[in-house]
């Protein structure tokens, strides 16, 4: 019983942290219909940058904001490559991911004095200082602090994103993904909307990187591997599993999708799957989610609306 509860808590904790990235990918993939691979680079970008800043004694909450801003900057470049230089979405993502590989390494080497990993176990993070310190470390013998802080963060981000999507700018973003011609006929440059969407999406990815790094107390390049698949799977699982629940917002579905996805992985590991097979399993679950959502027509709108002409 104890073991199962602990697994549940870890699943919830990780699911919530990675949900932040899934929210970002929801914007680029679901709303803008832009398969953005830059996330594999911007997630560790946020993680490594935060790690180094925390090592230097910067406030961990401020680090979250800095990570978000830098992620937005990277997303802006992805958008500019696509909109201004007319490079295809997949290639833009690959380019930015490749750029991030170098940028991340340079930051690590300069920040740590030549090491390939930034460690900051005994420094202040969002989980052990200020707000985090107010929450009891464990409740009833279970370590819950990380879960609670992550939950608060996810809820705040979700509410902000929901509010944004109701503003003029947010609705224009939704219109851009649905029907570019419509946006043009509104007298708006749909390129600006796309760049903005990619910026916000990658901001969330870098933010998630910062949170995950702070929970682990370390950050390295490896953290980014497989993030695109993880985030896309969360989005697609969430949107297809909860499609019928009409009162639920898409952002909630995505968060639950992320938790579900982590749950699947935890169960497999608990049943004795060796960790080296983990990425293989991730790809398998993602494939299953894609096939499943095709049946439900989640991405069906692309054939009905966006590419009608």
């Amino acid at each position: 019983m104890n073991v199962i509860l602990n697994i549940l808590i870890v699943t919830l904790e990780e699911g919530l942290m990675y949900a932040l990235m899934a929210l970002g990918v929801y914007i680029t993939y679901s709303i803008l219909d832009f398969p953005d691979l830059s996330v594999d680079g911007t997630f560790p970008l946020g993680a490594i940058l935060s790690g180094i800043l925390i090592m230097k004694g910067v406030n961990p909450w401020l680090c979250l904001l800095i990570a978000f801003a830098v992620g937005m900057l990277a997303g802006t470049v992805t958008g500019l490559l696509h909109v201004k230089l007319k490079i295809r979405p997949l290639l833009c993502g690959i380019l930015i991911y490749t750029c991030c590989l170098s940028i991340n390494l340079v930051m690590l080497l300069k920040g740590t004095g030549g090491k390939a990993i930034a460690t900051f176990f005994n420094k202040d993070t969002i989980f052990n200082s200020s707000l985090g310190a107010l929450i009891p470390e464990s409740i009833g013998g279970y370590y819950l602090r990380t879960t609670i802080v992550s939950l608060i963060l996810v809820i705040v981000c979700k509410i902000l994103l929901d509010l944004y999507l109701k503003t003029k700018s947010g609705l224009l973003l939704r219109a851009t993904g649905d029907n570019e011609k419509f946006v043009t006929m509104l007298g708006q440059d749909n390129g600006v909307s796309k760049i903005l969407g990619l910026a916000i999406g990658n901001g969330f990815a870098a933010l998630a990187g910062s949170v995950v790094a702070q929970s682990k107390g370390s950050a390295d390049q490896q953290m980014g591997v497989g993030m695109v698949v993880l985030a896309l799977a969360s989005v697609i699982i969430g949107l297809s599993v909860f499609k019928k629940v009409s009162f639920m917002k898409a952002t909630t579905m995505v968060i639950l999708g992320s938790i579900l996805y982590k749950g699947c992985l935890s169960i497999a590991l608990a049943l004795g799957l060796p960790t080296e097979y983990l990425k293989l399993l991730m790809a398998l679950i993602f494939t299953a989610a894609l096939v499943f959502s095709n049946g439900l027509g989640i991405k069906g709108r692309r054939t009905s609306d966006a590419s009608a002409k």
Partner: protein, 257 residues
Amino acid sequence: MLQLNNIVKIFNKGTVDENVLFNDFSFNVNKGDFISVIGSNGSGKTTLLNLACGTMQPDSGSVIFEGKDITKVSEYKRAKFIGRVLQDPRMGTCGSLSILENMALSDNKNKAYDLSPVINKKRVDHYKTLLEQCGMGLENRMGVKVGSLSGGQRQALALIIATMTDIKMLILDEHTAALDPKSSETLMQITDKIVKEKQLTTLMVTHNLRFAVEYGNRMVMMHSGNAVMNLSEEEKKQTGIDDILDKFNEISIEVGN
């Protein structure tokens, strides 16, 4: 109001498929005109509209709007003063958004798309009044996703949306072509009503010869990049639909359509 001067437009330039559509073509739209344009496929009707809207750039020549050269002005900037309804009912509206959201977004056309809320409750009654003139009951379905409307309803909404802000010119690109006869008749009547009420300068491309004869104060027949017929309201009345059809058949046989 709108002048296309000495337009040259060549498709697939420099290839074996090179097609010179317009060679020194000029076209003039006066303020208050409602021009219907007819012509066979490939005659240059849609290209004419695309040049006016900025979807395409001419190879040479100029596009003048109210005395200003807008040849290099991008499509989205021109959209601020040129409203447009396209053939495909799905293009003029956003299917994943509700009727209210579509209208609220369009209502904001000439203002900034910032972080303020998009729906202003005070404007909702105004939207409903606009929708009432279609007589389709859309005003009672404001929360419905536009994607679930029929083609005719969606096109009527697209027309309302295109004309709800202050535009100087309306461009209709075969906007009734995808609809059934009854719906296209209804839409054409709504179009005429709005154009007259708002005194919009209108350029309409249509395949429906009867619409072309019945509506508007000028009729132009395009053929291989030239206006082979250009009838004023008076001349149009004297020329029957059969005469126009004869002329149409004559040029169609020439190109083997």
